[in-house]
Symmetry: C2
Subunit: 224 residues, 2 copies
């Protein structure tokens, strides 16, 4: 795997190959790394995806577009796209990072992919960047549907509170029991200005919080 | 104030004036409102500002760029820019919203400005959108400096935890006393995997949380 192969896979040839090289330097390798390009690429990626969804789903509400975008630009999806491009193999990373499996780590791959997208933008401009991003995400974009999204109860609660002009909820989670390999957690959902407290239980922080949010939403909608 | 004046102030003339019209319809006015354009404009704005900062501050780290962008695209800054454009006067809003001062409300003005930016992008493409955004933000961009940023302790704590691969903190806040016009709050900062609890007090949620974050950061850095 070489930078030559990667440019072929991206269907984009850099005028300044130094930009692509820089996009593939993790911060564990040195000060001259890809963090600034990642920052730029993250912005480019979010906007290109927003634009695509805005046009493709012309009759969908903003909330659906936001959720679809979140499902596409999350770390796991980016790493799925970065892996077959062989980005892990050409990444410059520190020795310690390499020993601990850094080349396979989703966060490093996702960040490097964003940096590559940023580098394409700097090198070729917005039109080329949009073309490359759409091609990279083509398979994911093709199967995307707002109806397939399982909306997180925390998101639904947040949207409900925002629509009614309320402040956002705060969550606290405590481990309440279970074996070390199988803990249980209890989450409390606290909503500013609402005296009732809602709680949820589950095998992870996330699931306990989701249950608390689901109960809060049911409780508040029942009040309305 | 008319849409004609607004186009003059934006230094942009719409091919499809219907897009500008749509960008100025708040959801309280009807189903055909500006929420989708706001979604698109938010993405465009964030990217144009990211691009500007990336180029202007070529030797600044990603964290500085992120904080500078956050200071520019926050609601208050957007409303400051929207007000002299006269967006409040030409906004279509529901009668109830109008009676409660909606035309002066920062959130409505900020969202409408984002929708206008989205409309410019749809109508004129990325180059025109970038030109209009840079002109709108020119005064704010000119005085921006990473050294002027007072970094929020919550942000610093979050960055510290992310760098050390830890989970993000959770905050809870309770009102603990004070007169109705002058309440006091106590915040607790809970960090997953850290048994110590850090607390802070202050006259608002935000200030109490900031103090708790400052203490948590001091405590954890002391451990390291």
């Amino acid at each position: 795997m070489t930078l030559e192969n990667l440019q072929h896979s991206l269907d984009y040839r850099f005028d300044d190959a130094g930009l692509l090289h820089r996009a593939l330097v993790h911060r564990s390798y040195g000060r001259e790394n890809n963090e600034r390009l990642e920052y730029l690429g993250d912005g480019a990626l979010n906007f290109v995806i927003a634009d695509f969804l805005f046009r493709k789903f012309a009759h969908r509400a903003e909330g659906d577009l936001t959720r679809m975008r979140a499902s596409l630009v999350r770390r796991e999806t980016l790493a799925e796209i970065a892996r077959p491009l062989g980005i892990g193999a050409v990444l410059s990373i520190g020795a310690g990072e390499a020993r601990s499996g850094g080349r396979q780590r989703a966060s490093l791959l996702a960040n490097a992919l964003e940096a590559v997208i940023g580098a394409v933008y700097v090198d070729g401009g917005f039109g080329e960047c949009r073309r490359v991003v759409r091609a990279l995400f083509a398979r994911h974009l093709a199967v995307l549907s707002p109806d397939h999204l399982d909306i997180d109860p925390k998101t639904r609660l947040q949207e409900f509170l925002q629509k009614s002009g309320r402040e956002l909820p705060e969550y606290t989670v405590e481990k309440t029991g279970g074996e070390p390999h199988c803990p249980t957690f209890e989450a409390r959902c606290i909503i500013p200005g609402v005296s009732r407290r809602f709680s949820g239980e589950g095998p992870s922080h996330r699931i306990a919080e989701q249950q608390a949010a689901r109960r809060a939403l049911a409780g508040l909608q029942g009040d309305g």
